[in-house]
Amino acid sequence: MKSRYFAAAALLLFVLAYEAKAQFRFPMPEFESGYKHPEMNTPLPARIPAAVDITVLFVALAVTAWAVLKSRSRSMVFLIAIFSLLYFGFYRKGCVCPVGSLQNVVNAIIDRSFGVPIIVMAFFLLPLVFAVYFGRVFCAAVCPLGAIQEMCAISPIQLSRPVEITLGLLPYAYLGLTVLSLATGTGFLICRYDPFIGFFRQGASFNMFLTGGVLLLMGIFVARPYCRFLCPYGVLLRWASLFSKWHASITPAECIQCRLCESSCPYGAIVVPTPDDRSVDRRTGARRLGLLLLLTPVIVGTTAWTGMTAHKLVARLHPTVRLAERVAAEEQGRFAETTIDTDAFHAGKQMPAELYADANAIKQQFKYASAWFGAFMGLVICGKLIRLSVIRKSSDYEADRGACLSCARCFAYCPVVGPISQSDLRQECLDKHAQS
């Protein structure tokens, strides 16, 4: 209550401060017929309470985890995916989504004054926490962006390993660019280039529909292109899932090396057992790894330098930089006509010199930010190379914890029957007894 009075008092002071009443061109009429002004219609947002969305997200994640790890049912995962597509996609129109919430959280870390509502925070964290325990169950069936692509993956092919790994660098670049654009105040890239939200809202620009349509068509053969080769939140989920406590396993019991699952994964997420006859001996491997570690600073330095030199190009993402360039070009007479933006700028109070100074300051920010971005990409490339050159022993067909989306496709390919429970055993004995 106290704060309410305070707010009222503050408002009163505020209004009193504006004593000078506005001058109106025409006098307001005094009506004789008893006419009253109609009420203005100013409706407030009718938002679904945050608790509902958070609960639905939690339950969907929990049920998916159960479907993947306990009941091992692909059809169940698929049903949850349909539900998520309908609820988070078409009903909630794709907002809030955990993929985009990443930006709000990063922005709150960079800009202390930027608040993150509880629902956004929950949407950011819940899938990550679930990934730490159960793997990427969020990707499996809860993400509406994943679900819409899952429906389209009709005849998936397997990409060759080098292509898969090279394209797999893109999400890191997207993540880096997202952070870069937040650090420089450029905007929310993930929301701007969300390919499927146009379908959820049933309205978007032509380019948005085109990108979404191309990705979905591509997704018929190359399953889930956005998830695997673009999604920046997927990078975080991948990291979290690497440490997952319980992760989906292809076999319910011991692997019998039948190789039936080998071609079942459309996401290239099955780790094939290392052959016994090593084609690379230990010493060569160690030398290669040593060389890579030595080269890492060089690679990181080069990519950081590349990022810094490219900063002028990257800085054009920022609207102020673009406006300054246009205003400068118009002043030099390179354009005959003005744009809405330059007109609005000239109508405002700011002088061109101030605008140029602003733009230069932003470019300077971009210089550092792009260098950091370059260094990050260098580290990612080196990390990938190091991971490739370390031979890890595995004797069974296992899911790659980072890349596996827990879609449960491979389960059906495994002929191994899980450990028989007591009741099943009893039923089997009874059946046999009845037969004899």
């Binding site: 100013t42 947002p45 930027f114 990550l128 609005a344």
Partner: protein, 202 residues
Amino acid sequence: MSEKPKIGRRDFMRVAATVAAGGGAWAVARRGDEATVWQLDPAKCVQCGRCSTNCVLNPSAVKCVHSFQICGYCDLCGAYLQPGAKARDTGAENELCPVGAITRTYIEDPFYQYTIDEKLCVGCGKCVKGCNVFGNGSLYLQVKHDLCVGCNECLIARNCPAKAYERVPVRTAYLLKTRDNGVLVPKLNLGTRLDSGTGKQG
């Protein structure tokens, strides 16, 4: 050899990470207690027309609103009639609004009331410009929150040449013009739903 039940290093790390994430989330989330919405400041608006074309919704969530209390109820209305209109009547050829969303009603001599049909309005701002050039500026654009989907980054805000968009607290979800505030001061929104909640209770 100890016989203690072993809590693995990884288990510990997992729980620690979860708790740390939760704590961090709480610390950050509390700052964002007050929900905000996008709104445009009519004092900054230059009526460029992008509100109607840049919204992710089609038609746009931005509509023209009318502060009747500062309207002059003119017969010769700069917002309703085309410049140089042949007659001051409801003929379509005389109307400025491209979608015919303004209704002209006779009140008493010589006053006319102009009402915006929000179902038709596309938020182009043509009438707003007309009212600013020849009128009291009682018509202006506002984001209607029953329509707005509340994007993280409002697409119109990003492309607004006048930088008229900002996030405002839900309390002041509309920046309305009144007789007292002239045209500039954001007014507390005492909309239908809020009345019971905050305003007149105390």
